[in-house]
């Protein structure tokens, strides 16, 4: 199975005055194409830090991250912007929709940045919103929607460009159990459909069954990696 993300000896040290905080302390991890990988661990263990580094939002203190053989830590701002546009879709815990844009416009945004013509991008966005079950909320502003609905919009936004990698930081952190299951169904279903790789941070036990592998992190190091039956199946199928 093809490796899409390769993390080698990754360290991140935050300096708070005299004190050093080892957010990540030597992470080695390979993520295969098409897998759903869940980062799991206590609060402050470094999950978000790891995810941000894969997206190039933060620079590591040491170590390297190869995404599709691109050394992310070496890219400059302009290259990073291109890299994100090309390969990465992001889903946040706090949705992060633009408050003055409608659901449709929010989903259109990544396509606008890509320079798609209006007709094409609106067609794509509508299709995506329908897929997440919001066909009747196209022209609602974020503050006119529930948390679950907003998260669906942000999922639609992350998937609309069909990026190869979806990074999701506690996408269900603010949602109830039932909605969590719905959202996870959605993410897993879409990823399966388009053959995307998902790197997910989650605390919710409801989310865990959707993962192929669960990476347990504690104090910036990987404690153990739990491989599910379907991960092995996937691996075999690809071989």
């Amino acid at each position: 199975m093809e490796t899409i993300i390769k993390i080698k000896d990754l360290k991140k040290v935050y300096r708070m005055g005299q004190e050093k905080v080892y957010a990540l302390n030597g992470i080695n991890l390979e993520i295969k194409k098409g897998e759903i990988c869940c980062l799991y661990g206590t609060s402050g263990s470094g999950k978000t830090t790891l995810l941000n580094m894969v997206a190039g939002l933060e620079k590591p203190t040491k170590g390297s991250i190869l995404v599709k053989n691109i050394p992310v830590e070496k890219l400059n701002e302009v290259q990073l912007a291109k890299f994100r546009q090309k390969y990465v879709g992001f889903i946040f815990q706090s949705y992060n929709l633009l408050p003055n844009l409608t659901a449709l416009e929010n989903v259109c945004l990544p396509l606008i940045f890509k320079g798609y013509p209006k007709k094409v991008r609106e067609k794509e966005a509508v299709k995506m919103l329908k897929a997440v079950g919001l066909g009747d909320r196209l022209n609602h502003k974020p503050n006119q929607m529930s948390g679950g609905q907003q998260q669906r919009v942000s999922i639609a936004r992350a998937f609309v460009e069909k990026p190869e990698i979806i990074l999701a930081d506690e996408p269900t952190g603010n949602l109830d159990t039932k909605t969590t299951i719905e959202i996870m169904e959605l993410i897993a279903g879409m990823a399966e459909k388009y053959g995307q790789t998902v790197l997910l941070v989650s605390h919710d036990s409801e989310a865990l069954p959707y993962a192929d592998r669960i990476v347990h992190i504690r104090d910036g190091v990987i404690e153990n990696i739990e491989e599910k039956e379907k991960y092995k199946l996937k691996e075999c199928a690809n071989k």
Partner: protein, 458 residues
């Protein structure tokens, strides 16, 4: 990201904070209006000055006079009486040698009396080289200019009728001595009527002045042309072939001289001239030629020279007026920068999100630059429309007001403010540019924002 999408997004963002946008635009409107109105005042002064100048003669003509300042070295006549200095033929020949000189003519000026039908007139008649007339930009409104073989043919200035009077009416006290003035329409047609001309100033009067007793000759002359209106210098003169005029004048002087005074008739080349005119091929050479004429020892004066010194003072004035306007535009530009920086603080999180979901650095930069230049551009357009309003107001109400105060100088079409198209267009471009420049620093700031920390701001 497509330009069209950036513009749409920028407009949308401006519309979101309406009050702030309107206030910032207002600043630019005031700044643009101030600068345009100030410059338009200067332009109007310049234009009216040029108009006045062009009424006084052509720009590439130099007027040459004898040097009156050197009275001590001036010529001494008979009995040590100081004789008015004149320009000699020799000096004229030197002028002809100067490069870029197209034509030179001396002026031989004297007074004659003319009779047309029942009218009499005192006429200043100027002898001129006939073929220089065209070069010196004399233009005939009717008839033609002089030809080299003209002798008793005369070209009249546009307002010559004013010089004629009806002696009978004068005797009845209807007109002042000598001048008919404009007044009623006189039945004179210079080109058709028979015209008599004489050097005898008392001709036609009831009591002829004391003359030597010899009756001066009466010449039958022919009007062949009337000059165009609009030139003060030529309006009240008549023109004639210089060689003929010198000949007639010399004849007259000899005739009138005391028998014991032996006066020799002089040829054109021998008499001195009070004035000469020099036509230069191009305006840019005028000052240079003028210098060389001065080097010969003559006085030289040209419209081009006084226009240039006037231009310099006006450039300074324009600068001061424009500077006053520029200050208000500068304040407005700071207003734009302020608005944009405020917008960045407000939209920090948004910028972060856009960066994470795929906005390029240049998209973010362009978005802010477009917003800033749109404020500038919109302000500029409104400012120009407003300026035209203010300008119209100044040219109607303002002119009437000044006229009422006796400052309009009787010119009805005087404009206080002129906004040429180039000024309006450059005002528009300039204000957009001001916006762009003011947006530059904020836009840079926006691109430098770290996406991660931007997302975490609330």
């Amino acid at each position: 990201m497509k330009i069209f999408d950036i513009i749409r997004m920028a407009l949308r963002n401006l519309f979101r904070s309406k009050v702030r946008t309107v206030l910032t635009v207002l600043g630019i409107v005031i700044g643009t209006t101030a600068i345009i109105i100030m410059l338009s005042l200067g332009i109007a002064i310049n234009v009216s000055y040029r108009e006045q100048m062009s009424r006084m003669g052509s720009l590439n003509v130099i007027n040459v006079h004898p040097n009156y300042e050197n009275i001590n070295t001036g010529k001494r006549g008979r009995n040590d009486v100081w004789v008015e200095p004149t320009i000699s033929q020799e000096e004229l020949d030197k002028i002809k040698q100067i490069p870029n000189v197209e034509a030179v003519t001396p002026f031989y000026q004297t007074s004659v009396k003319m009779e047309i039908g029942k009218y009499l007139g005192y006429v200043t008649i100027v002898g001129i080289e006939p073929d220089a007339m065209e070069a010196l930009e004399y233009k005939a409104a009717e008839g033609r200019l002089l030809n080299p073989d003209d002798k008793l043919q005369i070209v009249f200035g546009s307002n010559m009728k004013d010089q004629f009077y009806n002696p009978k009416e004068m005797r009845r006290g209807l007109v002042f001595y000598g001048y008919g003035g404009p007044g009623e329409e006189k039945d004179i047609n210079f080109l058709e009527d028979r015209i008599n001309m004489t050097f005898d100033m008392s001709y036609g009067e009831r009591y002829p002045g004391s003359q030597t007793g010899k009756k001066p000759k009466l010449y039958k002359v022919e009007g062949v042309g009337i000059l165009e209106e609009g030139n003060w210098e030529t309006a009240y003169q008549a023109y004639m072939n210089i060689h003929e005029l010198v000949k007639l004048d010399q004849e007259y002087k000899q005739q009138q001289a005391n028998p014991d005074q032996k006066i020799r008739r002089r040829k054109t080349e021998e008499v001195g001239f009070q004035q000469a005119k020099v036509k230069v091929n191009e305006i840019k050479n005028v000052l240079d030629v003028q210098e060389q004429i001065r080097a010969i020892g003559l006085n030289a004066w040209s419209m081009a020279e006084s226009l240039e010194s006037a231009n310099k003072t006006q450039a300074v004035m324009q600068g001061v007026l424009g500077g006053i306007g520029a200050i208000s535009l500068l304040v407005a530009a700071i207003g734009i920068a302020n608005t944009m920086i405020m917008a960045i603080y407000e939209r920090t999180k948004e910028i972060g999100i856009m960066k994470v979901i795929g906005a390029r650095i240049k998209d973010i930069r362009r978005l802010f630059l477009y917003e800033a230049s749109m404020i500038g551009f919109i302000g500029g357009v409104i400012g120009i429309a407003f300026s035209f309003g203010v300008s119209y107001f100044l040219n109607t109400v303002g002119v009437r007001f000044l006229g009422g105060m006796g400052m309009g100088m009787g010119m009805t079409d005087t404009k206080l403010s002129i906004i040429p198209v180039w000024l309006a267009l450059s005002g528009m471009i300039f204000s957009a540019l001001i916006g762009l420049i003011s947006g530059f620093f904020p836009a840079r700031k926006a691109t430098k924002l770290s996406a991660l920390s931007a997302i975490h701001t609330e």
